[in-house]
């Protein structure tokens, strides 16, 4: 690439050559970008497509016939509904708790100087820089302690999920807090609000977008997590664990249905966000 560029860019036809090179580069890049996005999207399309497949045998590998049956009878596969419900339950509960705790930790790290603050910073970062398998097994080692006092199941999954969601919440909220204008809080205090009222009426609303984003991210991570959950689940089945189990036999199209449904909900939220940001950008541009 370097040599091509240099031969083109060098005299005698410097101006034209450079322009030609740039033209090619620009369009090659656009084409590449579209191809790369295709690479990202194709497997998703495959998932959705095969949710409409009517497989001839047990294996849903080859396209056979179009059908809506899988979507209508999505819960006809034993265990899929309870697994999905379990996933949603864990995700909701863990996200709520982790978001609350994470926000408080972020506030403490940014606002207060206390003994162990640097350590907290590092500890928060650890789960994100550890392979899931290590984190999952260290939690399992904790739960498996000598006397078998802890039953693996819903609550161990819950604890594990809270652990890894917290980190993402702290990082997201912290980023917002660092750019936070504290004069707003001081103003509230000057106007006679006590600390709690200030927090409720000023700090929290300003942090709300970050907290919401963190919560959504946490929810998505929780519902998708397999490795940590699998190690700490005991007999409980969440949706990913259900998929893992059934993947050893034959994956029914209903699994694709549930995955597609989750995807469509998430992408709808994402698109709404894109549109919203686009509008926001437009309106600020209009103002200035």
């Amino acid at each position: 690439m370097t040599t091509v560029a240099e031969t083109l860019a060098r005299p005698p036809r410097l101006g034209v050559g450079t322009r030609v090179w740039r033209f090619v580069a620009r369009h090659a890049l656009t084409v590449y970008a579209i191809l790369a996005v295709g690479y990202l999207i194709v497997p998703i399309a495959v998932v959705i497509m095969f949710s409409f497949n009517h497989p001839p045998g047990r294996f849903n590998y080859v396209w056979h016939k179009f059908t809506f049956d899988n979507w209508i009878h999505w819960n006809s596969v034993l265990g899929i509904q309870s697994a999905l419900e379990k996933s949603l339950e864990v995700a909701t509960l863990a996200t709520l708790v982790a978001t609350a705790l994470g926000t408080m930790i972020a506030l403490a790290i940014v606002r207060h100087r206390f003994f162990g603050r640097a350590t907290t910073n590092v500890v928060v970062f650890l789960p994100m820089s550890t392979p899931e398998i290590v984190m999952g097994s260290s939690l399992l080692a904790l739960f498996l302690n000598d006397q078998n006092t802890i039953q693996l199941g819903f609550w161990t999954i819950f604890i594990a999920h809270v652990m890894f969601i917290i980190s993402f919440v702290v990082v997201t909220v912290k980023a917002r807090l660092i750019g936070f204008d504290r004069h707003l809080e001081e103003a509230a205090m000057d106007l006679g609000a006590n600390e709690w009222t200030t927090f409720q009426k000023v700090t929290l609303p300003l942090l709300a977008p970050a907290i919401l984003a963190a919560g959504l991210l946490g929810f998505a991570l929780s519902i998708d997590d397999f490795v940590i959950t699998y190690l700490n689940a005991g007999p409980v089945q969440t949706f990913p664990i259900f998929v893992w189990g059934i993947a050893r036999v034959a994956v029914p199209p209903q699994v694709n249905v549930v995955a597609s449904a989750i995807f469509l909900v998430a992408i709808a939220l994402g698109l709404a966000n894109v549109v919203w940001q686009y509008r926001a950008a437009k309106s600020t541009r209009g103002r200035t």
Binding site: P43, V62, V134
Partner: protein
């Protein structure tokens, strides 16, 4: 607020402590059994090396594939920017296992990709893609692609385009401007992206389990099987400790090369 943190700092600190200790947990007694480590290492060093090799190849593949895309989104996408960002994260919205299973469909022996490759004789008439190293590495590359693309995008997006204009004014060719200005300025993104890809990829076992055979099994497969199938906790724990330790060593070497401030910043 302050005491709350302490309250939550404790269990988190305990977790960190526990994960460091776990390697020294022989069956039910604590006997400083360091031999766990040596046996684990001698039994499973192939899987360990393989994990890092696969993760390394996948990380480089991600970098090469994601850089142009991130560059395009940052500099050329214009109003399409957010939409393309959404495309990048779209795979995250499909359950990890299911999107890996989708590659089973795509790479299946009866599938279109294998048929075309057979027709153009890249593969032999009985050649297959599934259950090969290629399938596993490709699966890892796909699954961790967004982890690479997003940090790259963030750092490329922050580059002041005037700097590139300045480079051009100083008679740098586009290639030179790219190599001397764009790449160094996007270094934080490259560092973050490679770490975010490499670390989880090294511990991954889903791709190897679904798209490969025992010949492609990685350290994650071993740890998982030791914990849940053969109930050999000490070996499993020391293996995950070794994995963690190796990653830390790689991190340190990496930090030495790129400069420590770039890792934390």
């Amino acid at each position: 607020m302050l005491w709350l943190t302490f309250f939550f700092l404790l269990p988190m600190g305990f977790l960190g402590y526990q994960s460091l200790q776990s390697g020294l947990f022989p069956n039910f007694h604590f006997t400083w059994a360091f031999s766990n480590f040596s046996t684990a290492l001698s039994d499973y060093h192939t899987q360990l090396i393989r994990s890092f090799a696969y993760a390394g190849i996948a990380t480089i593949a991600c970098l090469v594939l994601a850089y142009p895309l991130a560059y395009w989104i940052a500099f050329r996408a214009g109003p399409w920017r957010n939409l393309f960002l959404l495309f990048i994260v779209a795979p995250f919205f499909v359950t990890y296992l299911v999107r890996t299973l989708a590659w089973l469909n795509i790479l299946a022996d009866e599938g279109p990709v294998v048929r075309i490759l057979r027709d153009i004789h890249v593969l032999g008439p009985n050649g297959r893609l599934l259950a090969t190293t290629f399938a596993v590495v490709a699966g890892i590359t796909y699954n961790f692609f967004p982890f690479m693309a997003l940090p790259l995008y963030v750092s490329l997006e922050q580059i002041d385009e005037r700097l590139l204009e300045a480079a051009k004014d100083l008679y740098a060719s586009p290639t030179k401007a790219f190599l001397r200005v764009t790449v160094p300025l996007s270094m934080p993104g490259i560092v973050a992206g490679t770490l975010l890809t490499f670390i989880p990829a090294a511990g991954d076992f889903i791709n190897a389990a679904l798209l490969g055979t025992p010949n492609q099994s990685m350290i994650g497969n071993v740890i998982q099987a030791k914990f849940l199938e053969s109930l050999d906790y000490p070996t499993a724990a020391s293996l995950s400790f070794i994995l963690m330790g190796t990653i830390l060593v790689i991190l340190l070497i990496y930090a030495k090369i790129v400069g420590p401030e770039k890792l934390t910043g």
